[in-house]
């Protein structure tokens, strides 16, 4: 096989779901010894297209060619036979099985016998580390992804499709993955990577194919592309990649957290003596490596998790012992986007209207015992129009929407309740550029109307551009709260890994960080 000989060609491939055209006349060229990036906004049909190569969906029109021959991929089994392997965004692994058992799945009995030897060979070749006897439910996301890659390689794939592989990885894990991708490319394998992250596209791919709303826009050589040119192809118009940080006159603290300590599900201290406050018209970013107490902090503020000690003061009330209902009645809204996006906040099988009604039912309950679906539908329509949600109708189940649209619905609904404090965690997780900027814009509008925002984020560049202050957490402790406009990435990085602790420096001046001078908490209550 030649270095860049054609592996798979798609010609005018079309797929529709009901009345929604997910892919329309797509043409694509996948070659051996090359990394092709598939770029497009949420809902532009990237995953659908690749699912047709892996046999999950069957195209309604068009033709797929494998090494120049027309082929018909009717099932995953056919895809196997053509040595096409897909690493899905939601891993296709059986949690209850060990790594080796997962790899043995779908292998003929004879090949499955020496699977341990095969695993070892592939791990040695590309530098993977997996324990064949480890159960999947004991693995972290990075290990699961490694297992997925080893699995398709063991199955003999030489066309690998990776669907948003970096969405759940840390920076170091991403770098490791890219080294593997490059090694596989050197080996002559054809690789397709689906991603939203432009810097990754530029780093790892050779060519980029761009989709927009299910249509094929074009393919460019990566070396001729820039972030801006790719974004414009993806979005279809000129875009501004700068994030605004409107300055708003600071009001009195809206939410104050004093000496808060929370335990996680296993009973370990997740948040340890944390102090901070949010003023009206201010956005406080929370940075920290994954799992250093962000989730527990959100849950505690929303009243979903009991606190060990400390206070949470809203106005002049301590809300730390209140129920979620009482807390949300005081205008504190929480939108937490978990890794699977749908887990918290929305009911996947219910329509957009019903999900909107889930939050506003209390108000209408006072007027009538029956659900006012007409008003719910109107509200849903307002959210759809204002935030540009792409959906067939207000009655579409939320799980049928793509990730970005799900997040818009969630945030839109929260804003509809007129909150004065918004707690939002990873609101742009897995979102494309356009949707992300729209979310930033929504948050900024809220900030300008005097709402206090706690923004738990992942991307330091974004937080430094968007937030007013950044609080860094390290193993549940506050490492310091810095001005986002003057902070440097290096400083934040040191704080995130615990090497720099500003609170220790401040303590010598006997002033505790995170406590406002014009606090609402009266001295005698402290």
């Amino acid at each position: 096989m030649g270095q860049t000989s054609s592996a798979i060609e798609l010609r005018n491939v079309t797929k529709t779901f009901g009345s929604v055209v997910a892919n329309k006349n797509i043409c694509l060229d996948i070659r051996y010894g090359e990394v092709l990036a598939l770029l497009g906004e949420n809902g532009s049909g990237k995953t659908t297209l690749m699912n047709m190569l892996s046999g999950i969906y069957y195209p309604d029109g068009g033709q797929i060619y494998y090494r120049g021959e027309p082929v018909d991929i009717r099932s995953p089994k056919d895809a196997h036979a053509l040595r096409i392997g897909m690493i899905h965004q939601h891993f296709k692994l059986v949690d209850l099985f060990t790594a080796a058992e997962n790899i043995r799945l779908g292998m003929p009995g004879s090949a499955g016998k020496n699977v341990a030897a095969q695993i070892k060979e592939i791990c040695d070749r590309y530098g993977f580390e997996i324990d064949p006897d480890q159960k999947v439910y004991n693995m972290n996301v990075s290990q699961k992804q490694t297992l997925e890659i080893v699995k398709v390689l063991c199955h003999g794939a030489d066309v690998l499709i990776l669907d948003e592989p970096t969405a759940v990885l840390t920076l170091q894990e991403t770098q490791k993955l890219f080294r593997v991708i490059k090694a596989m490319k050197e080996d002559g394998k054809a690789i397709v990577i689906i991603t939203h992250k432009l810097n990754e596209v530029l780093e790892v791919s050779d060519r980029v194919s761009i989709l927009r709303r299910g249509e094929y826009i074009g393919t460019v050589e990566t070396k001729d592309a820039t972030e801006l040119s790719l974004t414009e192809m993806m979005v279809g118009q000129k875009v501004d990649l700068n994030i605004d940080r409107p300055l708003v006159e600071k009001k009195k603290p809206l939410l104050e957290i004093r000496d808060l300590t929370i335990r996680d599900d296993e009973g370990n201290v997740a948040i340890d003596g944390v102090n901070f406050y949010i003023r009206g018209g201010e956005m406080l970013g929370v940075a920290g490596i994954a799992g250093c107490g962000q989730k527990e902090l959100c849950e505690a503020i929303a009243g979903l998790r009991p606190i060990e000690s400390g206070m949470m003061v809203h106005g002049d009330e301590d809300i730390s012992r209140m129920s979620p209902k009482e807390i949300s009645a005081r205008g504190i809204s929480m939108s937490f986007i978990p890794e699977d996006r749908l887990g918290m906040g929305l009911a996947p099988s219910l329509s957009i209207t019903d999900n909107v009604l889930l939050k506003s039912y209390k108000e209408s309950e006072r007027h009538s015992p029956f659900v006012d679906r007409k008003r719910g539908r109107e509200e849903a329509n307002v959210i759809i129009d204002e935030l540009g949600v792409i959906t067939p109708s207000t009655e579409t189940p939320v799980r049928r929407l793509s990730g970005g649209n799900v997040q818009k619905v969630l945030l839109g609904r929260e804003i509809k309740t007129n909150p004065n404090v918004i707690v939002t965690a990873y609101p742009v997780r897995g979102l494309d550029i356009n949707s992300s900027y729209l979310i930033y814009k929504i948050l900024n509008e809220q900030k300008m109307s005097g709402v206090g925002i706690l923004f738990i984020g992942e991307d330091l560049d974004v937080m430094m551009a968007l937030c007013d202050k950044i609080m860094v957490l390290f193993h549940g402790k506050v490492m310091g709260i810095v001005n986002a406009a003057t902070a440097t990435k290096e400083q934040l990085g040191l704080m995130m890994t615990g090497s720099l602790d500003l609170t220790q420096i401040k303590d010598t001046e006997s002033k505790k960080t995170g406590i406002a001078q014009d606090s609402n908490i009266k001295e005698e209550t402290v």
């Binding site: 892996s54 969906y57 995953p76 089994k77 897909m86 099985f97 058992e101």
Partner: protein, 331 residues
């Protein structure tokens, strides 16, 4: 009479009922491992019971000297096929048409009981009245003591070795199923289908075929439980007392009790049989208090459910996609 004097008799009936429950339970474990939650087990046990009885009834009527082996063969094939047909109905509705498992299963139970009692009544009429059905050769063949040395071993021999062949066949089926599920490739594939059908599908495993086959074979095995009850316990007659249904529900409860492991069904079914009959051997019970003891197997099942829920050990949980229809293009 003290409890210990009556213990051998209790064990005897516990083994008889336990065998019915064990077969039903093993069939249901095989079915549930594919993700199909078949609550039609009592119904397919009914189907198995009546089909075997009908088959041998006509065979014994048609011939002068019925052969015991042929009787067993006819009964087994009839029972297995009729019950597997029930499984086929269930599979078609839930796997192909993606109907709700609970509703389909409960309907199948009602259907099976109705069909069986209708034909049972007809057989009684043909035979000349209730209790007049005579399949003496078959019943005798089923109840022939398999181990001739049983009589020489006293109480032990009587308890362990004086049963018909189905008691031992049931244990063999449970052992074979345990090995199949935990050691074989196809067992691994089946478990993958029940845990995560999308993953199994992506791995090139034909999800529908696994669901169909495991459900039909599972139902067939459960049907053998109904056959054993009719041929051995009631000696080849038909009664409208609903005992098969009770045993069927006990089998479904036992699946949970065993945490989906056939090896646990072997002792668990005898335990359920004992708990079921306990009320006869507890002195001083009145008609009013008997039902309290009859519910013991269910109480034990709830206790097991509570324990495994507290422990949260992943290996003891039901198959992850149990009761959920699978559609490849679902988004």
């Amino acid at each position: 009479m003290s409890f210990f004097q009556t213990l051998p008799a209790l064990i005897q009936v516990a083994i008889a009922f336990g065998t019915v429950i064990m077969l039903g339970c093993c069939g249901e474990i095989l079915t549930e491992k594919s993700g199909n939650l078949n609550l039609g087990i009592p119904g397919v046990m009914y189907l198995g019971g009546i089909a075997s009885l009908t088959g041998v009834f006509f065979y014994e009527r048609s011939t002068e000297n019925p052969n015991g082996f042929v009787c067993i063969l006819i009964a087994t094939v009839c029972a297995f096929l009729a019950a597997a047909l029930g499984g086929l109905i269930f599979s078609f509705l839930t796997t192909t048409l993606r109907a709700n498992h609970n509703v389909t299963g409960l309907t199948l139970t009602i259907f099976g009981a109705g069909v069986a009692n209708f034909f049972g009544g007809s057989l009684n009429k043909l035979a000349g009245g209730v209790g007049q059905i005579s399949v003496a050769t078959t019943s005798a063949a089923f109840r022939t003591v398999l181990f001739p040395f049983a009589g020489d071993l006293g109480v032990v021999g009587q308890l362990l070795f004086s049963h018909g062949f189905m008691v031992y066949a049931a244990i063999l089926i449970a052992v074979a199923m345990q090995i199949f599920l935990s050691r074989s490739h196809r067992g691994l594939h089946l478990r993958a289908v029940g845990e995560n059908p999308a993953t199994a599908d992506a791995a090139g495993i034909n999800v529908s075929i696994y669901k169909y086959l495991s459900t039909c074979i599972g139902c067939g095995i459960a049907g053998l439980g109904g056959m054993y009850y009719v041929m051995d316990y009631t000696k080849g007659t038909w009664a409208h007392d609903g005992t098969i249904e009770t045993l069927g529900w006990l089998a479904v409860a036992l699946v949970i009790f065993t945490t989906w492991k056939p090896k646990n069904a072997i002792w668990g079914s005898y335990l359920f049989g004992m708990l079921y009959w306990m009320y006869l051997y507890i002195p001083g019970l009145s008609r009013n208090t008997q039902p309290l003891f009859k519910m013991l197997p269910y109480v034990v099942t709830i206790a097991v459910l509570i324990v495994i829920s507290i422990h949260k050990k992943r290996e003891n949980q039901p198959p992850a996609s149990l009761g959920l229809p699978y559609f490849r293009e679902e988004r």
